[in-house]
């Protein structure tokens, strides 16, 4: 089936919906989602959205910019961070006017709380910069955007799994995939295509990400021979529920929670004397794992405690109701009485599809724009997060750059010539599905996936090492090879999740290889990328963005200088 639109957005999280809303009045727009749109993982965002509203105390965009650049370990592009932090307040006001139910302070303004790495006056002390809707900020924004999209006539195509972008004369002219309900090919013909597919946390065993976060957008980009940028920078959130990986927001520490080791010590005081438990995530995650490797985990085991008892029952129910409730559900613990076992969990990928600050996808490190293709959100790399993202900066990234992407589409779409759909747009997907369903392969998807997840978690997470990475790269390549030989037991074409998981596994293995390759090449430690064999940041050689392409002879890396500016390099102390 062929669908005609002006703009097609792949992914229905906050970035996708915000882009859709920005263009909806003027063009015919569709949002395509692998799940029902309201299930997108943006709904899991808990703690808040950063902007220098100054509702609680004096704040300035320059302070926010400084924190973001320093938090990124100076790898963020400062032109992009300037845009983000300057435009953040108005982006939040716009959300408020759309109806987002922000929590309020005594003056009736949007209430703000502290968050990791956000400081006043260039690092002096924590600042209240995170606007929020209790601990359901993502859900609250998503619901409002969804309702606004319904009002504006945005069309949703739910449970469609996109397999390829379509190009004609080097212009992106649509995307092709299949309907999960029927396996029937679905071709979307458009003048502009936006990738808003989110992250790829499911490459790891322990993650805060949902099952749908399998890096499909990254694979679409690789498939189109596009580079991926800075993929070695994976954020491990310090406080995932031990074993499950379910996120406990930094807001828990912002409201007064502290981390404690097996001796009951508040160990973050030693690692970050000023910000303590509200240091950036890369630093807190490393601190937790160092405590554990020094035998100071709880009872010598591989977790520490998050202590929320000081916050008190009433405040927990008021400020962190969602977290309080799921801790009760999954651990049977009342966090006002007992401490919570936590360990780092794979949370976010700083890298992604390279874009400029207008949302254009860049085809190479020279900055060549690929006409018709845009990207926004976690799948994009602008780069505002560099080597480590600060908490609450992702939601604001989605809104600011989702909006900018929408505006550049509106500006450019009239001049765009409609390119014809490539003739094989349907058959390429039908063939892919048929060959998997009819495959006589013997490999089992679940086993390959578990191998990959365990390998990535053990060998390519918070602490890395060249020798281990080189080994891991070989194993990932073997797994990739084995994945070509998977066999499906389920031959049905109706809601065949085995088929979907096979395709997702291929996507994840491709991305895993790029991550490990990028990490192996970067011989320094910066932000979330820590190499035991190169434990220092090396600005002389490595203050640059990694670009990796798939080529017929394997992955090829190259490097792009970054946009420096206002803030000069400093050692990161908190």
């Amino acid at each position: 089936m062929i669908h005609e639109y002006d703009v097609v957005i792949i992914g229905g999280g906050i970035a996708g919906l915000y882009t859709a809303l920005t263009v909806a009045e003027n063009v015919k727009v569709a949002v395509i989602s692998k799940v029902h749109v309201t299930r997108s993982h943006s709904v899991a965002a808990q703690g808040g959205i950063a902007a220098c509203l100054g509702n609680e105390e004096e704040d300035h965009w320059e302070w926010h910019m400084y924190d973001t650049v320093k938090g990124s370990d100076y790898l963020a592009d400062q032109n992009a961070v300037e845009v983000l932090t300057k435009e953040a307040p108005n982006a939040i006001y716009k959300l408020e006017h759309m109806g987002v139910p922000f929590s309020r302070n005594a003056q009736g303004k949007i209430e703000q709380r502290r968050f990791g790495g956000h400081t006043k006056n260039f690092g002096e002390a924590p600042i209240k910069r995170a606007g929020y809707a209790s601990d359901r900020t993502g859900r609250a924004i998503m619901d409002t955007l969804y309702d606004r999209c319904l009002q504006k006539g945005v069309t949703f195509h739910n449970e469609i799994f996109i397999q390829h972008l379509l190009f004609a004369l080097n212009n992106c002219c649509g995307a092709t995939g299949y309907d999960i309900a029927t396996s029937a090919p679905q071709v979307f013909h458009a003048k502009a295509v936006v990738l808003a597919t989110g992250g790829s946390g499911k490459i790891y065993k322990t993650t805060s990400n949902g099952y749908a976060s399998t890096g499909d957008g990254f694979a679409l980009a690789l498939d189109a021979l596009l580079p991926l940028e800075d993929m070695e920078f994976i954020q491990f959130h310090p406080t995932g529920i031990y074993g499950l990986g379910i996120l406990i927001s930094e807001a828990a520490r912002a409201e007064g929670g502290v981390l404690r080791n097996g001796l009951g010590e508040r160990f973050m005081e030693r690692y970050a004397p000023t910000l303590k438990d509200l240091a950036p995530r890369d630093i807190v995650s490393r601190a937790i794992l160092k405590e554990i490797s020094n035998g100071k985990g709880i009872d010598g085991k591989d977790y520490v405690y998050l202590d929320l008892r000081e916050i008190g029952k009433e405040r927990l129910n008021q400020k962190l109701p969602e977290i309080t409730s799921f801790i009760q559900t999954y651990l049977g613990i009342d966090p006002s009485e007992k401490q919570i076992p936590v360990a780092p969990t794979c949370h976010y990928i700083m890298g992604g599809i390279p874009t400029d600050i207008e949302g254009h996808v860049l085809a190479d490190k020279a900055g060549t724009i690929l006409p018709g293709l845009y990207a926004a959100g976690e799948c994009a790399c602008v780069s505002v997060h560099g080597a480590n993202r600060l908490g609450c900066n992702s939601l604001i990234d989605l809104v600011v750059f989702g909006g900018r992407t929408g505006l550049s589409i509106l500006k450019e779409i009239k001049a765009r010539i409609v390119q014809p759909i490539p003739v094989q747009a349907e058959s390429i997907v039908m063939d892919k599905i048929s060959s998997l369903i009819e495959s006589k392969g013997v490999e089992c998807i679940a086993i390959l996936r578990e191998n990959m997840q365990r390998l990535m978690t053990e060998q390519c997470s918070v602490f890395r090492n060249g020798q281990v990475l080189a080994q891991t790269l070989l194993v990932i390549r073997q797994l990739k090879k084995r994945a070509l030989n998977v066999g499906l037991v389920n031959k049905s074409r109706i809601f065949n999740y085995e088929l979907q998981e096979a395709l997702e596994l291929n996507n994840m293995l491709r991305i895993a290889e790029v991550i490990v390759h990028s990490a192996l090449q970067r011989k320094e430690s910066r932000g979330a990328h820590f190499r035991g064999d190169y434990p220092e940041r090396n600005d002389e050689e490595w203050l640059k963005h990694t670009f990796v392409n798939e080529t017929p002879t394997g992955l090829k890396e190259s490097y792009k200088p970054l946009s420096t500016g206002r803030f000069t390099l400093e050692k990161r102390r908190y």
């Binding site: 109806g99 309020r104 003056q107 303004k109 998807i445 049905s492």
Partner: protein, 240 residues
Amino acid sequence: MKITLKVQRFNPQIDMEPHYNSFTIEVEPNERILDCLNKIRWTQDSSLAFRMSCAHGICGSDGLTINNQSALACQKLVKDYDYTKEIVIEPLKYFEVVKDLIVNLNPFFERIESITPKEASNPSIFMLEQERIQTIEERRRFDDALKCILCGCCYGACPVMTEQDQEFIGPAAILREQRYIFDSRTTTINERLQILKKPHGVWGCKSYYVCTVVCPKNIKVTEAILRTKKKIIQEQSKVK
């Protein structure tokens, strides 16, 4: 330990009627029902169809009927049930079953769409460079409704929907409307009240309280509906 799940199956290409398959799996008491279903899919029967995504009760994908009550598979643990007996897993009631545990959710999302006034004020005119003021108390009036994750569990449980009036707009839709009607910032309150007053609207609710009992987010759904009814009557008496 070993437990047995009795799972409703339906393959539209083969089956005329749904039937049940029992699966025995090795699990811990603390594992989620969703983990059990995944074990079945990944180790015993890859054709078992069910939806999932976030796996911690915020995306709303995995609403099912577990031991005859609507619930999220990711929010219920094995130990929440008497696992010495079979745990019975069925799709959400009310909805048409498409395959195994998958139901057609279009009637649900169409209702959510139907309660949204199309002629609402235009967000693109928002040029103000500050937020609107809303007091903590004003914000509290619709806080409970914000917990809704659109899982559809209340539709699967509501006796009006399942037994009396198939066309009833349903608890989640009224709850979402209540969220806007009680938000001091909403400019379309009258339009929204009109929508709820239509046939099969808010007056279809007979206050069985089953939605409140099954709601995975512990929302006081019935109370929200009753508040909305009261609001309609209040507005009508104002007009007179």
